[in-house]
Structures are given as structure tokens and as C-alpha cells.
């Protein structure tokens, strides 16, 4: 299992990703949830990279929600209408006791994270490798989410290596 080789920080970001997915009503953990997990765990070079580019947890969460609203609006459904009609009982959060699996895309991100760590000859799997795994999935939700926030994957990658270099002295 890949998870065994995760450093503490990377584990924390995966755990945080699960929490984010549940809170946002995502019925599987997507690559965008892994990005939110990095921001929520707020540890390691990856979190530093994102925050230095002005990508904050709250804003990213809102962007993720907006992507959902927009997708619904594209087929003529307005979430606010549904929320108003259904009343206080309407809650998108995933209820306790319901399992939320990793999406194939998120699994691929984690596999790619491992490859990145090996490729960079790093002895541990850290949040920066998870972030690189996310960026490598150009078609994924996370990269689209970043693009909507005005941040390109190239910019993130450049900053990441800049900060890594600085940390390594």
C-alpha cells in the first residue's frame, strides 16, 4: 500500500483531504480535495508554495463550490433554489457512517506522487510530491480550479522548486 511510505505531513494532507471532501459533499475524494487537503493541513513546502502564490484554503473551497454551482447552472438547475425549497434539512455534507472512496483520479495523483519522490531521489514522500502529482494531471479538477483562481500549473511548479532549493540550502 502506497500510504505506508507517506511521511507524516503527506499523511496529514490526505486525512485533511478526506475531511474536505466530506464537508463539501463530494461523494468521492477527488484530486481537488487533495489540493484542499494540502491547504488545510498547512504543512510542508507544498502549503508554503500555494500560500506564497495567494492560494488560500477558504478561497479554494469557495472556488470548488462555485464549480459545482456552475456545473448545475449549465443544465438549468440553481442550487440556491433547491436549498430554499428544501429548507434547513438540506445539507450537502456527507453524513457520518457513509464511506467516501478515493476517485481513480486521486489514486493516480498519489501514485504519481510516489513516482515524483523516486524521480527526485527523495527519501520520503512529502506534500510537495503530492502537489506535483496533482499538477501532473492537467485535465483534473484541481488544475482547473487553480486556473480559475488565476494560477497556472507551471507557476506553481516553478515556485515549488524555488522553495525546495531554498530549503535545501
Amino acid at each position: 500500500m502506497i500510504f505506508n511510505r507517506f511521511a507524516k505531513e503527506a499523511r496529514a494532507c490526505v486525512v485533511a483531504a478526506v475531511e474536505e471532501a466530506r464537508a463539501l459533499g463530494h461523494d468521492s475524494i477527488g484530486d481537488e480535495d487533495l489540493l484542499l487537503g494540502i491547504l488545510r493541513a498547512d504543512k510542508g513546502v507544498a502549503a508554503e508554495t500555494l500560500s506564497s502564490l495567494g492560494v488560500r484554503l477558504e478561497a479554494a473551497r469557495e472556488e470548488s463550490e462555485r464549480m459545482g454551482y456552475d456545473a448545475l447552472a449549465s443544465v438549468g438547475i440553481f442550487l440556491e433554489d433547491i436549498r430554499r425549497e428544501a429548507g434547513d434539512a438540506f445539507d450537502l455534507r456527507i453524513p457520518e457512517g457513509r464511506r467516501v472512496p478515493f476517485s481513480p483520479r486521486a489514486k493516480r495523483v498519489l501514485e504519481r506522487a510516489l513516482k515524483e519522490a523516486v524521480g527526485l531521489r527523495d527519501s520520503h514522500l512529502g506534500t510537495e510530491h503530492v502537489l506535483l502529482g496533482i499538477l501532473g494531471n492537467g485535465d483534473g479538477m484541481a488544475v482547473r480550479m487553480l486556473a480559475r483562481m488565476g494560477v497556472s500549473p507551471e507557476t506553481v511548479e516553478d515556485r515549488l522548486f524555488e522553495l525546495r532549493g531554498r530549503a535545501a540550502g
Partner: protein, 85 residues
């Protein structure tokens, strides 16, 4: 133009948006079902009555919703009403 008729993406010309919409709808539908079942329960409907309208077995409704609703609405279940009230 009416905001509701303005955009017609998600059609055959844009599968990606169409599929994204399906995902968003599925998540919304789950939450809406949970909310409406809870609303019915709070209004005094029995599990059997709810199940009949939803078109699934009583056991299915119970398994999916009972625990969550009991956690959200502690205390005595509401007074049972006659169907359709």
C-alpha cells in the same frame, strides 16, 4: 435574456461540462433526498409511508436515513399522521 435560458452548455457538443453537471446533480440529489425524507419524517410520516412514495422498500429507506435523522432530530419521533395529511 432570462438567466435560466441563457446557457445551454452540457449538450452533446461539450461532454466534459455535461459530465461535470451529472456529478454535481448526483451530489445534489443525494442531499435533496436526505432533506425531503427528513422533512417527511419530521412532518409525522412513517417510514412505510415515505418508502411507498419514494418507491423503495421500507428497509431501504430505514437503512439509508433512519440513523442520520435520529441523530439530527433527537427525542420522541413526531406524532404519526394519516397518509397524505
Amino acid at each position: 435574456m432570462d438567466e435560466r435560458t441563457k446557457s445551454r452548455v452540457g449538450g452533446p457538443g461539450n461532454p466534459r461540462e455535461g459530465l461535470d453537471a451529472v456529478v454535481a446533480l448526483r451530489r445534489t440529489l443525494e442531499a435533496l433526498e436526505a432533506a425531503q425524507v427528513e422533512n417527511a419524517f419530521v412532518a409525522g410520516w412513517s417510514w412505510a409511508q415515505i418508502a411507498e412514495v419514494v418507491g423503495v422498500s421500507k428497509q431501504a429507506v430505514n437503512k439509508k436515513h433512519a440513523k442520520r435523522i435520529r441523530d439530527r432530530c433527537p427525542g420522541e419521533p413526531p406524532r404519526r399522521k394519516e397518509k397524505g395529511e
